[in-house]
């Protein structure tokens, strides 16, 4: 932290000093081949915690991937704090961390500490600072004793915590979660739910897990590539559950 102060102030157009103006989707459509995944979605999401729910294949996973440029819109624009995902891809990815449903797909190094350090290596963070940040984040998620263990020996819940640690160590301004609790048992769902709750970053969570949504500022329901409901968690979830039954 102190180090940042000593540096000269970055020029105003530096993406890192942009205000957190939020996520904007302007007439966003996404098609894959003949299949329309999202149709003309327009949204402004300045809220701290946003959840996206909807059935399988509704397009919500694509919506999540649009937010850090893993998927680029085939029409319209996606702006994250004013940065266009199509033209400022790398800057967007530095701002937006992404946690996947299956932690096994996200862990790329054989041992726990090495994997957490991976993102920092890509950002060319000096080794000393890197080690310190890795140690810190491992402690926060209760993985310190597993630092040198092979990642495949962790439990499902620990693997998801490792995946989250590997993203948060990069200090993103926002985090997008794509069904982070789907593969977990009840205890680990609650654990991951608490982790998300305690984040100071702005979060977007795509989920089937309605228990996760308490305390969210806004919930969107996506169906057939469209946002069909949008509001506070109580009303929206109530509407969604009534519709499903």
């Amino acid at each position: 932290m102190a180090r940042a102060w000593r540096r000269a102030a970055p020029p105003a157009e530096d993406p890192a000093v942009r205000s957190r103006s939020g996520i904007e989707l302007l007439d966003v459509g996404h098609t894959y081949g003949d299949r329309v995944v999202l149709r003309e979605v327009s949204l402004v999401l300045p809220e701290h915690r946003v959840a996206v729910i909807g059935s399988n294949g509704s397009g919500k996973s694509t919506l999540a991937r649009l937010l850090n440029g893993l998927v680029l819109p085939t029409s319209g624009r996606v702006l994250v704090d004013g940065l266009d995902t199509a033209t400022d891809l790398r800057a967007v990815r530095r701002r937006v961390g992404f946690v996947f449903q299956d932690p096994d797909a996200q862990i790329v190094h054989p041992t726990v500490a090495e994997d957490v350090a991976f993102g920092l290596q890509n950002q060319r963070v000096p080794a000393a600072e890197r080690d310190q940040r890795v140690t810190e984040v491992l402690a926060r998620y209760g993985l310190t004793e597993h630092a040198d263990h092979p990642a495949h020996l962790l439990s499902g819940g620990q693997k998801q915590l490792l995946a989250i640690a590997g993203v948060l160590v990069m200090r993103p301004a926002r985090v997008v979660f794509d069904e982070p609790t789907t593969l977990l048992d009840l205890a680990n769902r609650r654990r991951v739910g608490r982790v998300i709750e305690e984040l100071e970053q702005d979060v977007v969570v795509v989920t089937h897990d309605l228990d996760l949504l308490a305390g969210f500022d806004r919930v969107l329901v996506v169906e057939d590539g469209r946002v069909v409901a949008d509001g506070g968690p109580d009303e929206t979830v109530g509407w969604y559950v009534a519709r499903m039954s």
Partner: protein
């Protein structure tokens, strides 16, 4: 990558020798042994390797013998073959040469850290730039392979269980199809995760045929 089995951590002069030097010496030894196929050279080389292994690298005789295990049947068979077809001299030459090279290579493996070997491999792979490969990525690729190995094994076991639970009568090898599809999807998500964590911050070199 610190979990590999064949490195043997010790404090010895050979451990301190740079991995590149050891690999170059290994290459030189193999050239020498084949360029000068005379009997005194091979046993002399073997003796030097054993002395270096026990004295220079402080490996135990047991570790050395274990390195010969994969090829001992070959050694015996080769000697027998030459005794029947040619003579003892050429048989001993072939066997001693083989033993010397296998042991020398094993000594390099046992005394070099994985990271150092990776650095040498990256250096050797610099020409692969021409086909669009980033040599600096080789360490990451090796790490990812080691990470994928238990994952593929685990997914394979899971598919076998699922098929057995449904009383699968299909041939066993057809489990390879769902397994491959599943792990290919997994690898695709891994690629997304690599991107999301900034792995493609630097574009790969352009392959030779796409340069103008």
């Amino acid at each position: 990558m610190s979990t590999l089995a064949l490195y043997s951590p010790r404090l010895s002069p050979l451990h301190r020798t740079p991995a590149g030097v050891k690999l170059a010496a290994l290459g030189a030894l193999s050239v020498l042994l084949f360029a000068v196929p005379r009997l005194p050279v091979a046993p002399a080389a073997l003796a030097v390797v054993v002395v270096l292994a026990l004295g220079g690298a402080r490996l135990t005789p047991r570790q050395l013998l274990a390195q010969l295990r994969p090829v001992w049947l070959w050694l015996v068979g080769l000697l027998a073959f030459h005794l029947v077809v040619t003579d003892l001299a050429s048989g001993s030459l072939a066997v001693l040469r083989l033993a010397a090279l296998v042991l020398a290579a094993a000594v390099v493996t046992a005394t070099s850290k994985v990271a150092d070997l990776v650095a040498v491999i990256e250096w050797l792979c610099a020409p692969l730039r021409l086909v669009g490969v980033r040599p600096g990525r080789i360490g990451l690729a090796i790490a990812m392979t080691l990470r994928f190995i238990p994952l593929v094994a685990e997914r394979g076991a899971r598919i076998r269980e699922a098929q057995a639970a449904r009383g699968a009568t299909r041939p066993m090898f057809l489990m390879l199809v769902p397994l491959l599809v599943q792990v290919l999807q997994l690898a695709h998500t891994t690629a997304e995760a690599l991107d999301a964590r900034g792995a493609d911050d630097e574009p790969p070199p352009r392959p030779l045929w796409r340069r103008s």
